[in-house]
Symmetry: C2
Subunit: 320 residues, 2 copies
């Protein structure tokens, strides 16, 4: 039944769910679903979840008068894109060390398979189907527990010589500052991620001798700032100032067309994104700021499977 | 006389001299020369120096049984590579604002012309004829009065969307640190350039209540460190620590094969380069350090014209 419309599978493997979808050569999604990823079980268990998902997607392709032609998987961790496998381990999926994503899926389904890091997939998705559509030089940043990054140069992902690049969260913006779990000191994500904003806020409350809530989130900080609490407002300003330092450095290096910002902190909304842009404009070089757009990612939680469907389609069509 | 061996002209325009050379399609230099660049005179005067040099090179090409086929010029300032002209002004050449390098030379000689920023040309030269020959992903850094940068990705120069990228000296490594003439704060070059090392040294001498020499240079600091003066040694260590912070951030972003270091400070020698590598290894992420080479630029003052000859040859041969 190798006939009909060519379809492409995109799988977004996370610590809680495997989200997956099938789409056409233009990356349009025709079906999506999710399953628990069994991230704390054996490597084979995780692969079984992936296999079930691909079987589901193959059936969906046939039901839509087509055939599944290729698969792409986004995963946490450093990924050797050339060979489609993990380099080392990732804390989010317990037994995922050196997982041979391409090898395992290929030997089961006989389909071409690509795998890439989830932060790369996010910026790829935005460049193909989202906010950065048509852009050539893009910095993608996910502001959440850390700061994840993806870099698009001349329309293609830049992965680094051993696929270990694009770690914009580990550019150091405070010389010999806070120790980071990456082994460095003063990394961008230590000062401008969600936990950093929470830390700035708790520090300000402590200084002001105000009570510290049991659970502080960035959502709470944004709400309290709106309600007029000065410490919440100041915690946001401090975070914005660090975001300005980090992104301005990246602007001076990459002179990108666009910075696309996703992740939980970006959900604070467009006004917050506009303030990030102002913070960058205070510090970056004028020629590198020309025409720069700073925008919010639009694909949200769909970015993983949307990016993977587009990646599978592009890579397959390049080779066929 | 459009016959014989094809030759290519490379011109390196500086604040004091125009250095220029002619070479073959493989970039081998067959003749080089230099003239005062008349950098403080009118724009036309500077172009006249360039015209004389190209006439000289045309004659050399003919004397070597060939023809000059294309010209490439390296210049200080931001350069619109697509149109071969300056973007704005540069302090090094007084009346060079918006100079139409390609237009002026083309209308005089009828030859194809390319122009690029001198820091870009330096890393290009090293990648084609020097220390980074054959490398695909390279960071070039010139440690001198400032920190100049060039970035090679997949074997080609990355210039940024409006040719304003690769300003690695203006990545910010000290959040809200020293004001930089670029408009930013805490830029890499404010802490790790030659004047920065001199400043660290003078601060240490002042703290130690030791006499401060009238003219301090990095050469003096390296000599005094070798002679066992603790403040000189410490000034070098402080500079190395900042170099570690800046380059480690770049390694985490680019995961390059190689960092090529040129400029006056690099003349301190291979032992200093080895210490820079150690400083980077202390702070960069392990996967991104894999296989990283940190080497001294080998072309020195010839890098400008050598890079331009190779650039002219490559661009010409791509189009013909």
């Amino acid at each position: 039944m190798e006939s009909g419309t060519p379809f492409f599978a995109g799988l977004d493997l996370g610590g809680t769910f495997l989200k997956y979808a099938v789409g056409d050569a233009q990356g349009r999604i025709i079906y999506k679903n999710k399953k628990p990823s069994r991230a704390n079980e054996s490597q084979q268990d995780v692969f079984n979840v992936i296999f079930d998902a691909i079987t589901d997607l193959q059936e969906q392709a046939v039901n839509n008068s087509g055939t599944l032609k290729a698969v792409s998987v986004g995963s946490p961790g450093a990924i050797d894109f050339e060979h489609g496998r993990l380099i080392g381990a990732t804390p989010n999926i317990s037994n995922w060390e050196n997982a041979d994503i391409r090898g395992k899926i290929q030997s089961r389904f006989g389909l071409p398979v690509w795998a890439d890091n989830d932060a790369n997939i996010m910026v790829f998705a935005e460049s193909r189907q989202g906010a950065a559509k048509g852009c050539q030089n893009v910095i993608g940043a996910t502001l959440g527990t850390g700061i994840g990054g993806g870099i698009l140069i001349d329309g293609e992902l830049y992965r680094g010589t051993c696929y270990a690049g694009a770690e914009i969260g580990h550019m150091m913006i405070v010389h010999n500052g806070l120790a980071c779990n990456c082994g460095g000191y003063g990394c961008f994500e230590q000062y401008a991620s969600a936990p950093a904003m929470v830390r700035h806020y708790i520090n300000l409350l402590t200084e002001a001798k105000k009570p510290i809530p049991e659970a502080v989130s960035t959502v709470m900080i944004f709400h309290r700032a709106e309600a007029g609490e000065p410490e919440a407002d100041q915690a946001i300003d401090i975070t914005l100032d660090y975001l300005g330092t980090g992104f301005a450095g990246l602007v001076n290096i990459f002179n990108p067309e666009m910075i696309v910002i996703g992740g939980g902190v970006a959900d604070a909304g467009d006004a917050f994104i506009a303030r990030i842009k102002q913070a960058i404009e205070k510090k970056a070089m004028k020629p590198a700021l020309q025409g720069l757009k700073v925008v919010r990612a639009v694909l949200g939680n769909d970015a993983g499977f949307v990016g993977c469907v587009s990646l599978a389609a592009e890579m397959y069509l390049k080779q066929n």
